[in-house]
Amino acid sequence: MGFLRKFFFYFFLLIFIIFCPLIVLYALGYLFKPGHEQGIVKTGLIYSATVPPGASVTLDGKPLEKETPNLLLDLMPGDYQLELSLEGYRPWSQKLPVEAGKATVLDKILLVPEDYKTEVLAAGSFRELIPVNKGNQILLTQSDRLSEVRVVDIRGEAEVPLLTQASALYGRKFLRFFTSPASAYVIFEVDNGTSKPQYVRFRAGEEGGEVLDITPLFLAKPEKIFWNSSSDNTLYVFTQGTVDRLDLREGSTAPGFLGNVRGMGLFEKGVYALMQDNTLLLRDEGGDDKKPLSRDKELVRTLLGENIPYELNVFARDLVLFRGPEGQLVSNRLPYVHAEFGINGLEFYGGPFQLGPRKILAWGDREIGILDFRRLPPDKEIFEKGIRLAWVYREGAAIREAFWVYDATHVLFLDGDQVMLLEMEGFGQSIVSPVVRVKKGSSIHYSEETGRVYFLEPKDADLASIEILPKRKIQFQFPEFKEERKESGIREV
């Protein structure tokens, strides 16, 4: 047995000495290519995953007997034409670079169906579509009467009227409505035949449910009403530079909570305010000021001008974006001014559980851009570059809304009355595909949770939806990682 032990010990030792370095080199991408002038070459790979999976793979015109998700190994550095095709979907094709030792990863390819299937959710000749409650519910108006406001829950696709016939408000007209992005509440300004309208708060989705008349708390006709989903019973009413705080639970109003305000925004339980004197402050619900956000009035004046009202979008404690009346876009991050005009809207993406890279979608009439706030490695140049607004699409006409799709790899936007899907996953030109036409002047809503876009049909103005992201067909492919895989996830145009 002693002899056998020695024999096998040296045998396996030899195998280890010979094969271990070869395995490590193979793992790093090295291959022995006979005929190649260098013999041993460092290869790269292409990883592709589609939704839905199962697309046939063709590389440089040669069909491979593979389907997505797919790993193409042992590729010599260079450019490759990758084509993916699946029955019922438009073929996808891109020229991809492969670098030595690196992985070219396209793991969020969304295949576009040849024909999108429209599903009618509610028939009713609707005028407007208003998402509430983080988009889980949609308010649909048929006229300016409360009796003709309906609520659709997109998760269960149930539809209920906002009010029952028994309600005293049934049949009354409304003048305006106010919503807050993550809140389930809607505030209607109801015409009661006098110069002082009534303000009523409804909870969307509860037929005959919570209806609260909050008119007595209003001291003036509001320009805007702000509130947070984390504190639904505290409202901030903005009127001509003054902010009143309304406490719905106590039924009280704190007049002049803030005065001389140019703009404000809410985040968690804090009120961020841009003052007329060019200070920026953070005030809590109780009215106590935390440390001033900025004492540098000169800087604020340079960036935000004088007496110009701004909309404050607070996306995180350390991320505030100011949008001006002419579409100026300024943030608290270098280079501060990201656009001097033309920005009509913003959409934030924070990744799963808000732990991912932070990106802002910004759109104007003709273009769509991205501000990417991930942590960047230190600049090699002496002048810090900061974060630039990278334009990814510039061929719009009248872009009105835009949404992140599929973990911020695609953008769904409404250009005029045409819904379009912009794909940013890849190395070539961004691909834009038409999705559906909607009722003229109406808006759309996209829910990443359901993967569907909700809209009003152009002909009958019924509420309909189309599946953009087939949720059931996303397979777990590789472990998620938190940072961008490519040098830049954004292809500028």
């Binding site: 490590v24 793992a27 790093l28 991408g29 030792g101 990682f481």
Partner: protein
């Protein structure tokens, strides 16, 4: 002057050295584990490469072990039907008459032919021995069985098996080593066994070990050493030459094979260095293997297979659990340590140092069966199994003493010191770290991949290579499952086939079982040693069904 094999009563310098070597295994294990975790975060590329190298090394090691566990099992099966008494008689015949005829094997029985070939080789060497052994009739076997909480029901099956074995019990002196602090029912049980079986043995003694003797801890070693000292007095009074006594120390639940003492006698007689050798059988845990939860079954079968593998390398074999040795050697080295938990392995190291490297453990291809811990329900059993494995892993307490011994014992070759020292250290390090690395830490580079790593070929190839390695390792697992079936006794259940089929799937639980009941207890033991929190001895629960 002989090396003092203990961590007590050391000089300050020795104490510092002792603490250094006590800290080393635990520190190394934690360093490896935490180092790999840290590397996975900060240098995932390096961590992934290290994992590939480690996985490949592990795979080759698994293949290596599988080959030898298979060979060892084959050897065990070869000798399963060997008539050891006939071989002992043949040796006696040679010693008396100078001739020994080995009968030819009839037919084409492959196993018999190989067994016969091995026998012939042993006899060839035996005939050239410079010092002839005593006749078997002159050899007295001394059996020491300790008892603390074990009642008669636990002790009796082992004693009965010895009494009814192929070797004449009239040549065996049985000692039940009972702790003075044991309960009355334990003491009464011992006396009842003496009454029942005393007449079948050469003698049957019940020795009561008083508590609190100076220099002793509450350990089994103190109990059996006390009994061995009494045995020495016993043999001295009767003029029995210690050279002709072979001592076997069993656990209270040990049930030896029917041929054990015949095999032991044979091994003792043909061993060239019989007074510088321990004799190590293959421990199995078959007494109640089918009555315990599946994870315990897998664990103990794995332990038996491990011992089978160890048996193929006599140069590095160390005594474990039930074993036998020359009583002369036991007396010369100063008996088992009285202040250490791991007396079974400590006696080997003590003897190795005492005889300046001229000591070995001789494998015997015969089994001794013990109980698997059964504490009544699955949760209590899990807790008890964990404690038992921690006690086994406490064998790491030998490392600092052995290393000090090597530094202070000039007669042992440097090669042997490095050989033994490395095996002892590496064995404990692997025990505490490998399951964690293979099952958990190895996947961390991919899980916590940052941008730098996730865009590389390595990020995608590493899991594929590891997956391939683990698939190849299934060959080892399948072989292990097959061998476990061969080794296990037939289930007495009516649904024997069903029970065995379930056992196959139990092996798929090896990763969590190895972490929870092997690596974790080992890490626990090493950490305690590192922090100077020495373990107290804890007696495992062993049950026998009460006969009504």
């Amino acid at each position: 002057m002989s090396f003092h094999y203990s961590r007590h009563n050391l000089t300050p310098r020795e104490k510092r050295l002792e603490r250094f070597f006590e800290i080393l295994p635990g520190f190394s294990s934690w360093f490896v584990l935490l180092g790999m975790i840290g590397l996975s975060f900060w240098k995932p590329v390096a961590a992934a490469i290290i994992m590939i190298v480690f996985n490949f090394y592990w795979l080759l090691r698994m293949f290596y072990i599988t080959i030898f566990v298979s060979l060892s099992y084959f050897r065990l099966s070869l000798e399963a039907k060997t008539d050891w008494m006939a071989r002992v008689d043949a040796l006696d015949g040679f010693l008396k008459q100078g001739s020994l005829e080995i009968p030819k094997v009839q037919g084409w029985n492959f196993k018999k032919r190989i067994s016969s070939w091995i026998y012939r080789r042993q006899i060839r060497l035996f005939k050239k021995l410079p010092v002839t052994p005593p006749l078997s009739s002159a050899i007295t076997h001394l059996v020491i069985v300790p008892a603390v909480k074990e009642t008669r029901e636990v002790l009796e099956p082992g004693i009965r098996q010895i009494a009814e074995g192929s070797y004449p019990a009239s040549r065996i002196v049985m000692i039940l080593a009972v702790e003075e602090r044991s309960l009355k029912n334990v003491k009464d049980g011992a006396e009842e066994l003496k009454l029942k079986y005393g007449s079948r043995f050469a003698d049957f003694l019940v020795v009561y070990h008083p508590s609190g003797l100076p220099g002793e801890s509450r350990v089994k070693g103190a109990n059996i050493t006390f009994a061995a000292r009494r045995a020495a007095e016993y043999f001295f009074e009767r003029g029995t030459d210690f050279e002709n006594v072979v001592v076997s120390c069993f656990d209270s639940d040990t049930v030896v094979s029917h041929e054990y003492f015949a095999c032991l006698t044979y091994a003792f007689m043909i061993c060239p260095d019989r007074y510088r050798a321990s004799f190590q059988p293959i421990p199995v845990y078959h007494n109640n293997i089918w009555d315990v939860p599946g994870f315990a079954r897998v664990l103990e079968t794995g332990a038996s297979l491990f011992q089978l593998t160890e048996a193929t390398d006599p140069d590095k074999l160390v005594t474990f659990s039930s074993h036998s040795m020359s009583f002369k050697a036991l007396v010369e080295v100063g008996y088992w340590p009285v202040d250490m938990i791991s007396d079974d392995s400590a006696i080997f190291w003590k003897s190795l140092l005492h005889y300046k490297g001229d000591y070995r453990a001789v494998p015997m291809y015969i089994t001794v069966s013990m109980d698997v811990i059964d504490a009544g329900n699955i949760f209590k059993t899990a807790g008890s199994v964990y404690k038992q494995k921690r006690r086994w892993a406490w064998g790491v307490e030998n490392f600092p003493i052995v290393m000090r011994g090597f530094l202070q014992t000039p007669g042992i070759s440097l090669r042997d010191k490095i050989h033994h020292g490395f095996k002892l250290f590496e064995g404990h390090l692997a025990w505490a770290t490998w399951p964690f690395i293979l099952a958990v830490i190895g996947w961390m580079p991919a899980l916590f991949a940052g941008r730098e790593f996730a865009g590389t070929v390595l990020y995608y190839s590493a899991p594929r290579i590891s997956g391939t390695i683990f698939n190849l390792a299934m060959l080892s697992l399948v072989t292990t499952i097959i061998l476990s079936f061969c080794l296990l006794p037939k289930s007495t259940s009516k649904r024997s086939f069903f029970v065995r089929a379930i056992h196959t799937f139990e092996w798929l639980l090896v990763p969590p079982i190895m972490i929870l009941f092997s690596a974790l207890p080992a890490l626990d033991a090493q950490t305690r040693l590192m922090l100077g929190r020495y373990l107290d001895f804890w007696v495992s629960e062993k049950k026998r069904p009460q006969k009504g």
